[in-house]
Amino acid sequence: MRRTNQIGWLFVAPVLLLVAFNALIPLMTVVNYSVQESFGDNVFFWSGLQWFEQLLNEDRFHAALGRQLMFTGIILAIELPLGVAIALCMPKKGPFVPVCLVLMALPLLIPWNVVGAMWNILALPEIGLLGYGLNAAGIDFNFTQSPVDAWITIVAMDVWHWTSLVVLLAFAGLSAIPDAYYQAARIDGASRWSVFRHIELPKMKRVLTIAVLLRFMDSFMIYTEISVLTGGGPGNATTLLSIDLVKKALGQFDLGPAAAMSLVYFLITLLVSWLFYTLMTRGEQ
């Protein structure tokens, strides 16, 4: 027979209360809005799943979701291999380790809106070092007019801002590998590639799982930097999900559709995170 100890609930009650206040209650408010039609003067009508149906059939939402997936896919494909590569190149011992770590951590310490503003100024074709430089070198570059240039700029900004996180995590994973593994590999005569494939990569697997999850979630919800840098433009070229959502909620004040979109957005993030986690930890106890 299994005895359940009811007093346990008493001990977790404060945490449950806290979670209720800062997560569940706001979430329920959103659920509340998502099934109602709102007018001025606090007048609400029940509208059922209408907003959800509308959203899921909306081209605008499909386009934003597509751009979002493309953005996240591109930056994951760049930042993970690049981060691991940089971590492999970093010195493992000696006085340069702290220097490298601090240099790597610098972009992470800059507030998001500042990053957006920095890259905006940097990439401006008239005055920016990068934008002006490229144009001076004969490359036609204008992120305020060309969608391709805008995409290059936001991807470059995100890679600059967040690759460091992958580097730090991968470096932590690498530092945890005892020297004896490398000695054993040398004694076996293993190649550099096998050392990476059969020692370093499996030993980094856990931290890389964390890196993928963090980078997925952060990039999937990215707002501030892109909002400051391109504002979603030119046109809607860089209007990712969160930017679209804010336009809907604050720009048009469509509370119901925006709430429905928030929920769908949240569920997608949750689902994809769970998928990543399950796939990457498969085969472990």
Binding site: A180, Q183, A184, R186, I187, D188, G189, H198, I199
Partner: protein
């Protein structure tokens, strides 16, 4: 096969890790490196393997100078204290890995891996990954990897230290049998004198990067050449006392007063009069029983009773001493007790630490 170190030394950043060392290790029987943690056992092994290059001296193998040759081009196998296997490969692939690098034929790899797995009782585990194995099985996998390679030099760096008691006993018995058939030079590092004695073969004692003594294990234990060797090769620690030798008599003295006195052995009576250091192993210090041996009195500090033996730590002439006796002897902590010294088994060391008569 012979591995020879000729004046091999290692300095790192102005710090001497290994003092110039001469050592000649033969195949057949284990060559044991005995010393405490950080005595330089692992570093010496790295120098033997070619994982590190000595800053002075030469390493010779089979009459060939191999000093500058990297470990990749020597035929070396090593088992570490930690269980080192490729985490993502199956046990089979782990054991096969050195053979795959050597581009051996598939059928031969299969046969060799299965043979080694059979010897190490790993056959049912061949399809598993290392993290699905117990510690003992992980270390067996590492040992199998060293075994299949048919290496000329096998380095076992405290391979049993991280295993529990039972597994350690079991593997310690198997190891010599497994590797002796291979005809390699086998080097085994350990911190435990009892392990060295159990494995027999030859032993080199290490202290702070210096080989203090080398010889057949039993002989080195019975007749260490100097004080450091006797200290390294004793557990519990060997008892030390300052003795005065006058003519044919030896006295254990404190502040001019003799605590005990006895006839000097032949080797010592020929030496000059003066102060010597006596070394007496703990099992030659017994609870007094009126057998006529020189006796001393000491205050008991700590006692340890196991099923079959009693260990008493006591203070004698300001030095910590240990008595290790068969059977159960009730000592009262804090009280003085009398101990008999089997002085005929004592070592005497001169001012430079050399054993008198060695």
């Amino acid at each position: 096969m012979t591995l020879e170190l000729r004046q091999v030394a290692l300095e790192v950043g102005g710090e001497t890790h290994i003092h110039p060392t001469d050592l000649r290790l033969e195949r057949g029987g284990f060559n044991i490196l005995l010393g405490t943690t950080r005595a330089g056992k692992t570093t010496l092994m790295h120098l033997m393997a070619g994982l590190e290059r000595p800053t002075a001296g030469q390493v010779w193998f089979e009459g060939r100078d191999v000093t500058g040759i990297s470990v990749r081009r020597r035929n070396v196998a090593m088992v570490h204290q930690q269980f080192i296997n490729y985490p993502s490969l199956s046990v089979f692939e782990n054991i096969a890995s050195p053979l795959r690098v050597a581009r051996m034929a598939r059928a031969e790899i299969d046969a060799r891996v299965r043979e080694a797995a059979d010897l190490l009782k790993l056959t049912p585990m061949l399809g598993r990954r290392p993290d699905e194995l117990s510690g003992g099985q992980q270390q067996r996998t590492a040992i199998a990897r060293a075994l299949v390679k048919d290496a000329d030099l096998v380095l076992l760096d405290e391979p049993l230290a991280n295993l529990d008691y039972k597994l350690r006993e079991e593997l310690r018995e198997e190891l010599p049998r497994l590797f002796e058939a291979k005809g390699a030079v086998v080097v085994y590092a350990t911190t435990e004198p009892s392990e060295a004695l159990l494995l027999a073969g030859h032993t080199a004692t290490l202290h702070e990067g210096r080989v203090t003594g080398f010889g057949p294990t039993g002989a080195l234990y019975r007749a260490p050449g100097d004080l450091l060797t006797a200290q390294v090769f004793s557990e519990p620690p060997i008892n030390l006392g300052r003795v005065e030798k006058r003519g044919g008599r030896v006295a254990l003295a404190q502040d001019g007063a003799a605590l005990a006195e006895w006839d000097a052995p032949a080797a010592l009576s020929e030496a000059a009069d003066g102060t010597y250091t006596m070394g007496l192993r703990p099992h030659f210090v017994q609870p007094a029983n009126g057998s006529g041996l020189p006796e001393v009195e000491g205050r008991v500090l700590v006692t340890e009773l196991s099923g079959s033996e009693s260990v008493a730590h006591f203070e004698l002439a300001g030095q910590p001493w240990v008595s290790q006796a068969h059977g159960i002897h009730p000592f009262e902590v804090g009280l003085t007790a009398r101990f008999a010294l089997e002085t005929a088994r004592a070592f005497y060391f001169d001012g430079a630490g050399r054993r008198v008569g060695s």
